[in-house]
C-alpha cells in the first residue's frame, strides 16, 4: 500500500491532479481534464488522465463515487498521513507481504 502511494506521487501530472482536487472536491473527469489543460497546459488525452486517476485511486489518494449517472472524484489524504507519521511517530513496523 505504501509503495502504491509513493508510485502515485512520483508523477508530476498526478500531483497536479491532487493539487486541483484540493481546490474543489467532487470533480468529474471532464473538470479534471479541463483544469489540467487550461491551468497547467497539460494536453494529455482523456484516456491518459483516466489512467492517472486509476493509479491515484488504487493508492487510496483519490476516492470515486457514483451519484446517479455521474462519477465524481474526491481527494483522500489519509494515506499521506500514514506516510508522514511513519518516521515521525513510528509505531507499527511495516507488515511483511
Amino acid at each position: 500500500m505504501a509503495e502504491d502511494v509513493f508510485k502515485a506521487l512520483a508523477d508530476p501530472t498526478r500531483r497536479r491532479i491532487l493539487d486541483e482536487l484540493v481546490e474543489r472536491d467532487g470533480q468529474t473527469l471532464f473538470e479534471i481534464c479541463t483544469r489540467l489543460v487550461t491551468k497547467h497546459g497539460l494536453t494529455l488525452s482523456r484516456q491518459a488522465i483516466s489512467q492517472h486517476l486509476a493509479v491515484l485511486e488504487s493508492a487510496g489518494l483519490v476516492l470515486s463515487r457514483r451519484r446517479g449517472r455521474y462519477k465524481f472524484h474526491d481527494l483522500n489524504t489519509e494515506p499521506l498521513e500514514r506516510i508522514a507519521t511513519r518516521w515521525l511517530r513510528p509505531e507499527t513496523p511495516e507488515g511483511t507481504p
Binding site: 470533480q27 468529474t28 473527469l29 471532464f30 473538470e31 479541463t34 487550461t38 449517472r69 455521474y70
Partner: protein
C-alpha cells in the same frame, strides 16, 4: 457556412421542451408531428433566427450508450453562451437545477456544467 441546427437527445420531448424553455429560457421555434415523435426545435430569444437546437428523441438504440458514457465522465453534449456564468449558476440552482461542475474560472473563460434532466450535460460559458 453557418451552423443552422444542432441537437441533443432527450429522453422525453415534453419534458425536454419544458426544461429548455421554462428553466433555461429558450423559446419553441418548430413543432412538426413525425409519427410518434415531433420535429421540435428551440431558439434563443436573443437570436430567434439563429442556430436552432433540435430536441431529438433518444429512441435510437446506440443513443443510451453514448449518453451514459458522456454523463459518467461529466462531458457536456453542448455548450451555451451566457453573460455571466456565476449569476446564471445562482439563478438555475435556485430553480433546483443540478450542476456537475460549479463555476470554474480559467483565465479568460468561465464555465459551469449542468444536468438537463433529459440525460445530457450542458456547459454554460462566458468569456471576459
Amino acid at each position: 457556412m453557418r451552423i443552422h441546427l444542432t441537437s441533443v437527445f432527450v429522453d422525453d420531448q415534453d419534458k425536454g421542451l419544458r426544461f429548455y424553455t421554462d428553466v433555461l429560457g429558450f423559446q419553441k421555434k418548430h413543432e412538426v408531428p413525425l409519427g410518434e415523435d415531433r420535429w421540435l426545435t428551440v431558439v434563443s430569444p436573443e437570436d430567434p433566427d439563429g442556430t436552432e437546437l433540435l430536441l431529438e428523441p433518444s429512441r435510437h438504440p446506440v443513443v443510451k450508450a453514448y449518453k451514459d458514457g458522456l454523463a459518467a465522465d461529466g462531458i457536456p453534449a453542448v455548450s451555451f453562451a451566457v453573460d455571466d456564468v456565476q449569476a446564471e449558476f445562482e439563478r438555475l440552482r435556485g430553480l433546483g437545477v443540478r450542476f456537475t461542475q460549479e463555476p470554474l474560472e480559467m483565465g479568460q473563460v468561465t464555465t459551469a456544467v449542468l444536468d438537463d434532466t433529459c440525460g445530457n450535460l450542458i456547459q454554460i460559458v462566458h468569456s471576459k
